[in-house]
């Protein structure tokens, strides 16, 4: 398992440098921590998937004495490790830039922001890997674009349909505290992450190379 995770980080060593550079730039531009962590996660995860298909490496991996479950699990654990490392990096950068820019009023990012950032990584991982292992890299891009487009269109339609009821929705949500909402969101995302993990193992185990 360690070797498989190491492989992803070795493969993306240049990408990791770029991501670190981008995180620095975004902090200089004073972007939100949520945005920074989520986007870094998106870049890392989408690249860990695409190099496998490009290199025809499924044949090599599956000829080694490891089972298919471990190959998939390493991707999910890798995403988790990346999330934690990014949160640490984000915190470190804010400490540094707190002393440089006046805009940062506190030395550490809000815990909420860090948590939501990690949840965004979980959510993207949950959606990306099952699609990637089922349809391959080429179709995954198209499917993700389609999903993004659908969310925008569907969101707009919903906004239009429920524009009179926005106050009611706000009222409904206001009966919960921010902690309760975040906790619910976290539980749902973690469940989705675990389900996606198990589902992707099933997909990969049924695959022919």
């Amino acid at each position: 398992m360690y070797s498989l995770i190491l492989k992803d980080f070795l493969m993306l060593k240049k990408m990791l440098l770029i991501i670190t550079g981008l995180i620095t730039l975004w902090y200089i531009l004073q972007f939100s921590s949520i945005f920074i962590i989520a986007l870094a996660g998106f870049l890392f995860i989408s690249n860990t998937g695409s190099f496998e298909d490009r290199n025809n490496s499924h044949i090599m991996l599956n000829s080694l004495p490891i089972n298919r479950k471990s190959i998939i699990s390493s991707k999910y654990i890798g995403a988790l490790i990346f999330g934690i490392v990014t949160v640490c990096l984000a915190s470190l950068f804010q400490v540094v830039f707190y002393f440089v820019f006046d805009a940062y009023t506190q030395p550490f990012p809000e815990v909420y922001d860090l948590l939501i950032g990690i949840l965004c990584i979980f959510l993207f991982t949950s959606i990306y890997y099952p699609i990637l292992y089922k349809f391959g890299e080429k179709y995954t891009r198209i499917i993700l674009m389609f999903i993004g487009f659908t969310i925008i269109v569907f969101g707009n339609i919903m906004m239009h349909l429920f524009k009179d009821k926005i106050e009611t929705i706000k009222l409904f949500l206001s009966q919960f505290t921010a902690n309760q909402l975040l906790l619910t969101g976290s539980v749902i995302t973690v469940l989705l992450f675990l389900l996606s993990w198990l589902g992707t193992i099933k997909i990969y185990e049924a695959k022919d190379f």
Binding site: M11, N55, S57, M60, S63, L64, N67
Partner: protein, 290 residues
């Protein structure tokens, strides 16, 4: 004599091709050459052997163990070389070693560096800069550094220049000095097999036509040459297939003894090459134009 591999009635179907009821075995301690035309099912069989494809039905045992139940244990004892590069091409040999070595319990660094030196491969250069020959050497390096008992190679010599092909064959020869090792390799370059193969397994259109000792095969089969007058409705049935020219016919027989009994001294019978056997067997599907 024990078998390292046993295929029993294995079936695998695709849209345009299927392996039909494949049964054969690979003998321990020998080199088995796996031959067949392009698209005959060599790679599919090898992928089934490596569990890269799931079989539709049948049973495969390797080292006497059921492939489905003991996959990891089996792979630990196998070295696999694929005909295309399937290693991450932006990594170097040094980085790949860091990934692959810990996966094998019996990884042997002394062996790895011995072959690295013997193959004169650069350790720190990304493998995307390697030539085809270097990539094949590297694939072999990673396949044999855990000292496997059984080496499976899918077309290891295809696309390589004659010098390097000879080097690969010599290496296989060196490995086979240990009589506990077994090699199974597919090829359509039959002259490679003349050098090292003890057994030949022949696949044709998804079916195993034979799996025999090479010497036995070359004794049983023969190239028959004679006058066209000798061919009639009954005698053509004695041949796998026939090539007819103005000066006479040339045909392949799968039973030299019977052919001698029928034709006596009227025909000339020569020892066939593996290429002859492949050529005439493939042609055998065509309707005889007599």
């Amino acid at each position: 004599m024990t078998n390292v591999v046993e295929f029993n009635n294995v079936k695998k179907s695709f849209k345009n091709f299927s392996l039909d009821d494949v049964s054969f075995s690979i003998k321990k301690g020998f080199v088995t050459g796996f031959i067949g035309a392009n698209g005959a099912g060599k790679s599919t069989t090898i992928k089934l052997l490596m569990k890269l494809l799931r079989k539709d039905s049948g049973n495969i045992t390797i080292f006497g163990l059921d492939q489905d139940k003991h996959n990891q244990e089996i792979k630990e004892r196998i070295g696999f070389v694929y005909d295309e590069n399937c290693f991450y091409d932006t990594l170097s040999i040094r980085e790949l070693r860091k990934i692959i070595a810990p996966m094998y319990q019996k990884w042997n660094d002394n062996l790895f560096y011995k072959y690295l030196d013997q193959f004169s491969l650069p350790e720190k250069q990304p493998i995307k800069n390697f030539s085809k020959g270097m990539k094949m050497k590297m694939a072999i390096l990673f396949a044999i550094s855990h000292d496997p008992e059984f080496i499976i190679m899918d077309e290891p010599t295809s696309g390589l220049d004659p010098v390097f092909r000879r080097e690969v064959l010599e290496l296989l020869h060196e490995i086979m000095l240990d009589d506990q090792k077994t090699i199974f390799f597919s090829t359509h370059i039959t002259t490679d097999l003349d050098r090292i193969a003890d057994y030949i397994t022949y696949i044709h259109k998804g079916k195993i036509l034979f799996s025999k000792e090479r010497e036995e095969l070359l004794t049983e089969y023969g190239i028959v040459k004679g006058s066209n007058d000798l061919l009639d409705r009954d005698t053509v049935k004695e041949f796998v297939s026939i090539r007819k020219t103005n000066v006479g016919f040339e045909a392949l027989t799968s039973c030299v003894k019977k052919t001698k009994d029928i034709f006596g001294d009227e025909v000339l019978i020569e020892k066939p090459s593996l290429e002859d056997i492949m050529y005439y067997t493939n042609k055998g599907d065509l309707k005889c134009t007599l």
